[in-house]
Amino acid sequence: MLSIENLGKRFGGKPALAGVTAGIADGSFVGVIGRSGAGKSTLLRCINRLVDPSEGRIAFHGKDVTGLRGKALRDWRSSCGMIFQQFNLTGRLDVLTNVLMGRINHMSLVPALLKAWPDDEKLRALRALDRLDLADLADQRAESLSGGQQQRVAIARTLVQDPRIILADEPVASLDPRNTKIVMDSLRDLHREAGITVMCNLHSLELAREYCTRLIGMKAGRVVFDGTPEMLTDDIVIDLYGLEANDVLDLEEAAARQLNGSAALPSAA
């Protein structure tokens, strides 16, 4: 159970989050929705402390993570994997080294800095890559891969962390429809097979409804909706997205049409 209590964050006086309270049950797949600038990203970044909250408290299984420092903070980050919109790999390093970053918290400093990876860690990273159908790309530079492949490398990096939570910040916003499905499906597989809690920021309502068991709607840094996808009515969507609502609803219909269309013509994909 991840509990977020009265969380607030200000960037130079401007509030990005205010009074956010939510409890995330273990093994749930939570989608955070809302228009850009609603504070979705800041919320996720507060959880693994890439951003330090200005007020409030985050606790995981009763243990406060808001005040963690040093090794304890790195352990916490290691136990909650993060997937970024822009993948955040090191482009000039090979794929395997990028995946091994997920193990770096468990290795001794000097061999790690010299890239003298222990065999069992290499094996673990290769297995994760294999699970995402990327094993044959292990020695390629990350930057030579396509966006979809890079995001799967990032998922493999998260996977070797053995995380209890995965935080995914707009994981598919830079991807085409085909890769969107591959990446979202692999997140769902991790969630189902390993029972990992997933908290995922999504701009697309269509995806949020399809993959998430629970949705949190944010507007101007506050939680304005918290419930199952079925509870999300058009009225709430209009409130969440304001003037963009029509776009989102139209897009949703268009996406639905596209999904049906591609299902009818699998060879076109």
Partner: protein, 272 residues
Amino acid sequence: MANASPKTAHAAPAWGGWLLTLGAIAVLVFGLWHLGFSLTKFLVGLGSLGKFVVLMFPPDWGDNASLWRYIKALAETVAIALLGTTLAAVIAFPLSLIAARNTTVSQILRFFARRGFDTLRGVDTLVWALIWVNVVGLGPFAGVFAIAISDIGSFGKLFSEAIEASDKRPVEGVIASGGSRLHAIRFGILPQVAPVLISQYLYYFESNTRSATIIGIVGAGGIGLELSEMIRTLEWQKVAFLIIMILITVSVIDRLSTQLRTAIAGSKATPN
């Protein structure tokens, strides 16, 4: 990342340009007068320059013993440049991490590192050579120090700017995976900046081969010492030979380092 800077349209009135031109001409004329410029002196001088050129032909190295000495002196010059540049880069790299906004450990240390670089850089290599000749005595040792000290300043500034310009996303990737700051620098920043740093190092080595010749003249070892000696004793054929030796060496190093640098830059030019 599209980072379009706004174009600054400069609409100065037409007479502003004329005024500026007139002002520039006035400054130039005053400068020439103040420095005692004289066309006759220049023309007469041009004549004797021609005489020197005639005296330089054919270039000649004298006996075999002095040829050997020149080759050793030239090798010493290249060694001074190589050691000085390497020493500077090795010392400057950790300091540049302190001086870069995104990797510094404290704002106060960052301030001192940056001002320190400015100070070292502000004093020319030649001046450092004069200082070191007095501190450690005549010879190549002083030359190595002169180049190293002044280039710590230049490298520190260039390296820290490259570090500041690096993409922060890989760093976030490493940190979010549970990595420490050291891990983030090693695996997030270093792979990005290494090609830039190596390229700057090679460029400085190339340019320091020329500097090492000059500082030899003030006694900091190498071919410069021989060159100034030959000019003093009016051995113009030997001077010509030494100059040709230096030119060939500098151009060979220039070619090699350009090739290496384009090879490194080329390997960076991958899509995405």
